[in-house]
């Protein structure tokens, strides 16, 4: 957790304008790589079983055996944070990926063909945008029942119009280029033009948006789990741990603080990565 202490100072340093985007990507990538490693290797790293209850260690303070202390049921907070991170990252990243996989073709079609194809796709997706994100997620879960898969699905649906819109806009810009018209004249089919010319050149902004949205997805997942609508206990999740720790905040702050810190670090990681990528793809920027 030493990285957390360094972050504010560091972010100020790299936050100066005209700094190379490489710093952001490096910093964000490093944070995320570390977190991903911890999440993947959870069974190897976790010092204890995250779900084993120990009545003798209820709200135990941090010590060498339990570096982050233990919670209301005497479960090891460190192990629960590691497993919780795994669950949260899995839900948020897969949700954004699922959203991206649907949004890219939709945005491409809308931006490239325009007219009624665009109106149909854009207006349909606008319907989703009408509802606030949290309300939509809660409604989804109210209908389909709580759980991490449903939470991921809800998050994917919420971000679909945002990603599709970004993809549509960059497609509109790319499709104006002469090499797109030229490719048609050189005998390429619409599909071939879309796949070989338009998609690769229009993809950048969507990747940036996906990276930034991953940060929001993580928070949304934590929020849903906090409300008991996401990952279900006893499976640990960062949001669920926040809910557990809330009641014992004064006696045992470690139950609340550590999962909270991990959320902050992960969100920062995604944000830095997104910012770095944005600077590379920003048409006004000098890039590398």
């Amino acid at each position: 957790m030493t990285a957390t202490a360094n972050l504010p100072a560091k972010s100020l340093e790299v936050g100066t304008p005209r700094r190379s985007p490489r710093h952001f990507i490096l910093l964000g990538g490093l944070i995320l790589a570390l977190l991903a490693l911890v999440a993947i290797a959870a069974p190897l790293i976790a010092p204890h079983d995250p779900e084993s209850v120990d009545v003798h260690r209820v709200l135990g303070a941090p010590d060498l055996q339990h570096p982050f202390g233990s919670d209301v049921l005497g479960r090891d907070v460190a192990s629960r944070v590691i497993y919780g991170l795994r669950a949260s990252l899995l839900v948020s990243v897969s949700a954004v990926l699922a959203s991206l996989i649907l949004a890219v073709p939709l945005g491409l079609l809308a931006g490239y063909f325009g007219r009624w194809v665009d109106s149909t796709i854009s207006r349909t997706l606008d319907l989703i945008l009408v509802f606030p994100a949290m309300l939509l997620a809660v409604t989804f879960i109210a209908i389909l029942g709580p759980g991490s898969v449903i939470a991921a699905l809800a998050i994917a649906v919420i971000y679909l119009p945002i990603l599709a819109r970004v993809m549509r806009t960059s497609t509109l810009i790319v499709a104006r280029n002469d090499y797109v018209a030229g490719s048609r004249a050189r005998g390429a089919s619409h599909l071939r033009v879309l796949v070989t010319h338009v998609a690769p050149n229009a993809f950048g902004p969507a990747i940036v948006q996906a990276s930034v949205l991953s940060a929001f997805a993580l928070q949304l997942e934590a929020g849903l789990s906090f409300l008991g609508l996401g990952t279900q206990p006893p499976t640990p999740s960062l949001g669920g741990m926040l809910a557990d720790g809330r009641e014992v905040l004064i006696q045992a702050p470690w139950v609340e603080i550590f999962p909270g810190l991990v959320i902050v670090v992960a969100v920062l990681g995604f944000t830095f990565l997104g910012e770095g990528l944005r600077r590379i793809f920003d048409p006004r920027g000098v890039g590398e």
Partner: protein, 272 residues
Amino acid sequence: MADLLRVEHLRKSYTSGRPWGRKPPPALNDVSVSVARGRTLGLVGESGSGKSTLGRCILGLTRPDSGAVIFDGVEVQALSGRALADFRRRVQPVFQDPFGSLDPRWSAGRSVRESLDCFGIGAPADRERRVLDLFDRVGLNPALAGRLPTHLSGGQRQRVGIAAALASEPELIIADEPVSALDMSVQAQILNLLMDLQKDLGVASVFISHDLGVVEHVSDEIAVMYRGEIVETGDTETVMTSPRHDYTRTLLAAIPRPRSSAPRRPPCPQPT
């Protein structure tokens, strides 16, 4: 002699996107031109006069509201499938912007190769060699085939664009402002290249430009466009020396020329 390309009473207007407000004037208003085999038609006019729209209609990239584009006796709008592919192979574009006409992610060689792959010209193994031949043909070092467009100069990019257009051995080239984005010395090189190629290969072309001076240099015939209409057509010689329409005269007057009749500047007084 039968014309290779005939454009008959073409009309096209773009919607302004708003149901209220003034309707924009049509981009093409009853435009008719023709090009014979191996000849060059220069299309002149100011920005927004509809010349590029005409070019896109001829290429079959934009659908006109009414009228017909007839290439080698066949109406282009009616084509589909193999016949459309065959038409596309025979009519190729050269674009203005040397940045926008090449995919920034594709090497120069791949851009030239695109039409060979799409039209299935030659054996796949043979295409690489054809690409290098084309580079040679347009005066480019074949070693540049692996470069990305960002690592080529404007003139080199335009040569790549011309090579890509020539790859499918077209009979008609639609060159839309092919030299406007280049500086003067490079303009001359590219114009000479285009004229040489035309002489060697017998390709007909429609040469679109706002610069009457450039068009005069390359064209057999000239059509002057103004606000979506052809206001004057004729042999280059005739149009340049005895223009009939006021707009053509205005364009002619805009060509910078050394004025031999202008009074010489008095010599600088020499210090005594």
